[in-house]
């Protein structure tokens, strides 16, 4: 996911970019959504504000994106649609460290676009759906990290890629987003190492110890 980009214009008018006018309109509108979200928050987002900021006519914005949920969903859909692939560092721990470094950078970035998008997902069902789709896609693309580790003989077969990847990344989201711990770069390396040790010890395999009944409640 890219940070908000500014719209480049020459003195003679809009710069031609690949994808033509429709792509250019989308780029300007989504840039405006990102910038407005991190500057003023979810409550200030609206078709009118985005139209004004992007310089795109409000009728066009309304026709194509309908409402704030549609705009946020498209910001996330755009992020999913890129050609991102997980880096191949030659080891499971190295690959997980590379992934976690990206997650860490996103969760501590200024402006805090990722955090703002996640916060918005608690207020908008389309944004929540788009965020879920974005993550599902990322976990699918990252499954190759686990496949490679199995092929190298680093891991036993039967390791569930999504479960390992969630275990490797979840502590970062938990610390930085929910517990709001002061960021410390070693969080990324620690979670990568802990998940690697767990996987090598046979965690994340499909054998279940059985269902769990409900317990006492806790936040």
């Amino acid at each position: 996911m890219s940070p908000p980009r500014s719209t480049t214009r020459s003195a003679a008018g809009p710069v031609r970019r690949p994808g033509g006018r429709t792509a250019e309109v989308r780029r300007r509108v989504l840039d405006a959504v990102r910038a407005h979200l991190v500057e003023y928050g979810y409550d200030a987002l609206g078709i009118d504000a985005v139209a004004e900021r992007s310089g795109v006519h409000r009728t066009t914005v309304y026709r194509r994106w309908r409402d704030v949920g549609g705009l946020l969903a498209d910001v996330l859909a755009e992020a999913t649609g890129d050609d991102w692939r997980p880096p191949d560092t030659g080891s499971l721990e190295g690959d997980l460290l590379a992934l976690n470094s990206e997650v860490y950078a996103a969760l501590t970035a200024e402006p805090p676009l990722t955090t703002a998008l996640i916060a918005a997902s608690f207020r908008s069902a389309p944004a929540a759906d788009a965020l879920r789709a974005f993550w599902a896609d990322r976990y699918e693309r990252c499954a190759v990290v686990v496949d490679r580790a199995v092929r190298r003989g680093e891991l036993p077969p039967g390791c569930d890629p999504r479960r390992l990847l969630v275990a490797a990344t979840a502590p970062l989201y938990h610390e930085l987003l929910l517990l709001r711990t002061t960021p410390a770069a070693q969080l990324a390396a620690r979670a990568a190492r802990d998940a690697t040790l767990a996987a090598r010890a046979g965690a994340f395999t499909h054998s279940d110890p059985g269902d769990v009944g409900p317990g006492r409640r806790q936040v």
Copy 2:
């Protein structure tokens, strides 16, 4: 953390409860906050709505809690102040499973009070501070789970309790709160087992592989 409780009244007037009138007022107000939050959401919370629902005069509510942030903070402070201790099941995996079953129950409860409180923490700094304090307190109380495992010889000394506990619980928050995965009770058992395997394999110790530079951005 308890679910919203209804206020009990006899025909003759308010029932006497331990703690006297001040405690009774707090109980009624916090009950109203919980019920209103899960029924109508953060946007509908306000001093007036809470005063009306609780039957406590708005001046009293305003004087004691000031605003919505103060009300949410006190809901969380009340949850922290209870006499909760982690169950002692005799094994690390059993203890983590008991904890995770509580987290699972809280995150899938109806009405979804925990989820609503976490969502509110993205909108209110006092609620965010109170949530952080609540979790810090829980992790501290749960450190005994790790101490016991070390004493039993299940784990090597040097295991960081908070890091192990975050690793055990974070996948549940990640799946149920952020990824909005369809709840499956085995999530609790799987995360408990994975964290136990990791801890036995030497994870969550203080040796760091070094700092990590920032990587590419990703949601």
